[in-house]
């Protein structure tokens, strides 16, 4: 077990190094932060050169990369070109909003997917199953920006039930969570349904049923438990990507999350923030995956950790 964890942590280091290399060199292919800064005003070539040297961009690439690499191990990614703030501080400022949105989205997804998935499985091949599946798939059939805009128009502008945007209170969390959650719920409901079906056809479930234990009890006790494992995997894997991959929802709902921080940094070619943000999210993602794998053993002791390496 410990050997496994150590091995995985070593892999994490490898992955982070790989990402650092790719991020570092690839963003330098896409344009120059200094000319972006001068997108108005009087960008004489001398002034541009001056600012570039002040930002340390005239150092040889390997020196710049060395500084970045050192930063990874000390969790100091330098200061943003744009705001002059330490990158870590910028991320920490926003991680709360990001977590709130990710958890909100997950909650909505679970609230929708579990009832729908369970009902679909129990009432397999009936109208309930049919509509349940279509309903859950409908959620992943819209581009999320469109869904977000529609939700705002209906629930905020026309009905005036919910606030439009911003990160202020619980009410503000509802619409973005629904936008995000609907997308996840489609896949999750499918997972729950099939995991439940897998067990429900098995001998011991029918045996339990024939012993007169109520159907729902059996379902909850056996089938539901079986559905938990893949669900936890899914949630874990999605959670990592949710932290950085909600840019569009954040943009539509003026949500001050890490995703928007990184996309703004990308648009400004704010190298330190891009580098720091990507590494930060990558580490979280890999660690979450590790935790997910480890938690298998807790939910289902039959699974040996060594077996699932990915």
């Amino acid at each position: 077990m410990i050997a496994y964890v150590i091995r995985r942590l070593l892999h994490t280091v490898l992955v982070v190094l790989g990402i650092s290399l790719i991020v570092f060199f690839s963003i330098r292919l896409t344009g120059d932060p200094v000319s972006v800064m001068f997108a108005a005003g009087e960008p004489t070539k001398e002034a541009i050169a001056e600012v570039r040297s002040n930002l340390g961009l005239d150092e040889p690439l390997y020196v710049q990369y060395g500084i970045f690499l050192k930063g990874i191990f000390t969790f100091d990614f330098g200061k943003s070109f744009r705001s002059g703030m330490p990158v870590m501080e910028l991320i920490n400022e926003r991680i709360g909003a990001t977590l709130a949105l990710a958890l909100g989205g997950m909650a909505v997804a679970i609230l929708i997917a579990f009832p729908v998935g369970i009902l679909s499985a129990v009432k397999r091949d009936t109208a309930v199953d049919f509509f349940g599946r279509i309903f859950s798939l409908l959620g992943i059939s819209f581009p999320n920006f469109w869904l977000g805009i529609m939700l705002i128009l209906v629930f905020s502008v026309t009905l005036q039930w919910l606030p439009v945007s911003g990160f202020e209170g619980f009410k503000h969390l509802i619409l973005p969570s629904i936008t995000l959650g609907l997308i996840l719920s489609g896949i999750l409901a499918r997972l729950v349904r099939s995991s439940m079906l897998e067990v429900m056809n098995q001998q011991y479930v029918s045996t339990a049923k024939s012993k007169g234990i109520s159907e729902w009890k059996v379902i909850i006790k056996h089938a539901f438990r079986n559905a938990l494992l893949p669900t936890v995997t899914f949630i874990g894997l999605q959670f990592g990507s949710l932290l950085g991959g909600t840019v569009i929802v954040e943009q539509i709902f003026s949500w001050p999350g890490v995703g928007r921080l990184i996309i703004d940094a990308i648009n400004q070619r704010d190298y330190p923030v891009i580098q720091g943000g990507v590494i930060y999210l990558a580490i979280i993602m890999v660690l979450v995956n590790l935790i997910v794998d480890l938690s298998y053993t807790l939910i289902d002791p039959r699974v040996k950790v060594g077996g699932s390496k990915s």
């Binding site: 108005a40 703030m85 330490p86 026309t158 945007s165 911003g166 539509i252 001050p256």
Partner: protein, 525 residues
């Protein structure tokens, strides 16, 4: 089962239609009547307003920024020695008067009894400190420094007199002193705190002081009770909310959560006009948009081809139809607000026959393909480009539109001459003087000029920089604009008109030409 599918399908469709109806219902009967006459949802807010903006600079230090987003908010916090009023005229700001002692010496008499928000007095020392900082090590890290390099030093004559010594005559110095980098900062405050602190907690002399700042969310300004203009500002509090997505901003406005919306899209103008408690206000800006030719490319090196394209496109129709009239034709690459604009030049008329003749004369084959680069994040300009393509097709030219990442376009493709035959560029010319635009666009070797070269243009550019006599400069600019008009280095499309929407409870809200909102006179009903 069959019935169920059918009902399901019809359910989906009716859902869509309901959504559509919800969103579009009001406009179908669009006449001049305001079709949405709900009660004003913002009427009880009291003596404060909330403004929805699309972005914020993330850094309030004036020497670190060139962003319009900075100026929209920071104009209420900081002030310069000279100021521009809403009509963009230069007027006294923190300086009461000034005079040129000679070509290279400019003396300011400062306003007395002015305080920074933290209680520090404003005086000549503060002026000297500001410019020492801007021109010193700290300023050189930022983009503002290079605008002010003509200033050699600032001398404190007495507490309320400061003299600027220049190292060369600078005809646009005064307008530059009304710019972002030249606003006066409090010396003690800046020295006592570190850089980071000042970035987040700006202090100036303006009508409002910043009392709250949540990055990328909101900025809270409160009335500066000691403001030097008698009786101003009228509002107690102004909150700026950062709402990047235009459709979200409009929704916030419709529901009364914000009182002013900056950057109303042309597509949204109708909706604002149709809402009883909203007002749409348009204002001309110094920003012009053109499809600039890269004369380094084959075909584009031929003046006749460039002129032909200018004749081929019906710019007025584009402005009327796609911009709903919110735009103005331009004859050169500058707006009517710019010093150096030539009012006698008529924009190239729409004359497809003439265009065809010129193309024939230049020997351009029918069906020749031109590569055009535009930013992928500007929906409106995509429409305009397609309209241009439509007009060019009428004269036998085909356009191959490349929609690319905006940052890549401005920082990589344009400077390196890799943006095809034509590319979109918008330019404001922050000094409101054609010097800025013309020098950067036509002087050989500049960042934004991959390949344009003309001896005569260079001569005129140098000549207007050598004198501070504004009449003389104007004459040079008239000659320059006529020359550029003939050389046609770009397909000049329009001067942008900005749209603002305001809740009707506001009084005296006048949107700025230059994004710098001036709020001290604004009040609520």
């Amino acid at each position: 089962m069959m019935k169920k599918w059918l009902s399901l399908i019809s359910l989906i469709f009716s859902l869509m239609l309901v959504l559509a109806a919800c969103s579009g219902g009001g406009e179908e009967s669009s006449t001049n009547e305001k079709s949405d006459s709900r009660e004003n949802p913002a009427k009880d807010r009291g003596n404060e307003i909330i403004i929805g903006v699309s972005g914020e600079p993330q850094n309030w230090d004036p020497i670190d920024t060139f962003l319009l987003d900075w100026s929209t908010i920071a104009t209420s916090v900081f002030e310069g020695l000279v100021d521009r009023n809403l009509n963009l005229e230069i007027q006294p700001g923190l300086a009461e008067s000034w005079e040129y002692l000679d070509d290279q010496t400019l003396q300011f008499k400062l306003r007395q009894g002015v305080q920074f928000h933290n209680g520090e007095p404003f005086n000549a020392d503060a002026v000297k400190f500001t410019f020492d900082r801007l021109l010193g090590e700290e300023g050189q890290k930022g983009p503002q420094y290079s605008n002010y390099t003509s200033i050699d030093s600032v001398e404190v004559v007495d507490e309320y007199t400061a003299t600027f010594h220049l190292n060369s005559p600078d005809p646009v110095l005064l307008t530059k002193l009304a710019g972002y980098g030249a606003v006066i900062v409090p010396p003690k405050y800046v020295q006592e705190h570190d850089d980071e602190f000042f970035n987040n907690n700006p202090v100036g002399t303006g009508p409002f002081k910043m009392t709250g700042y949540k990055r990328d969310q909101e900025i809270v300004l409160e009335k500066n009770p000691d403001y030097w203009k008698e009786g101003l500002p009228k509002l107690d509090k102004v909150t700026f909310k950062v709402i990047p997505e235009a459709s979200t901003r409009l929704a916030e406005l419709q529901t009364g959560n914000i009182d002013v919306m900056k950057r109303v899209e042309v597509a949204q103008a109708e909706t604002v006009k149709n809402t009883s408690y909203l007002e749409l206000i348009d204002v001309g800006t110094p920003t012009v948009y053109s499809l600039r030719f890269d004369p380094g490319q084959k075909l584009m090196d031929n003046k006749l081809v460039r002129q032909a394209i200018n004749y081929a496109v019906d710019k007025q129709s584009i402005i009327d139809e796609i911009l709903s009239g919110y735009g103005k034709q331009i004859s050169t690459y500058q707006s009517e607000l710019s010093f150096g604009n030539n009012p006698d030049l008529e924009p190239y008329p729409y004359d497809p026959e003439k265009a065809k003749e010129l193309l024939a004369e230049a020997g351009v084959a029918e069906g020749t393909v031109l590569d055009v680069y535009i930013p992928g994040n500007d929906g409106n300009f995509k429409e305009i480009t397609q309209a241009v393509a439509f007009y060019l097709e009428e004269v036998g030219l085909k356009m191959n539109i490349n929609s690319v990442d905006n940052t890549t376009l401005i920082s990589e493709l344009i400077p390196n001459g890799k943006a095809g035959h034509m590319y979109r560029q918008g330019w404001g010319g922050w000094t409101l003087d054609f010097d800025n635009t013309a020098y950067l666009m036509y002087h050989e070797g500049e960042q934004w000029n991959p390949s344009f070269k003309d001896e005569k243009v260079e001569e005129l550019l140098a000549a207007q920089r050598a004198t501070v006599d504004q009449e003389e400069r104007k004459k040079i600019f008239m000659e320059l604009t006529e020359l550029l008009y003939d050389l046609a280095p770009e397909l000049n499309l329009y001067q942008a008109v900005d749209l603002y929407a305001a809740n009707s409870r506001l009084e005296n809200f006048q949107p700025p030409h230059d994004d710098r909102m001036r709020l001290e006179e604004v009040s609520v009903k």
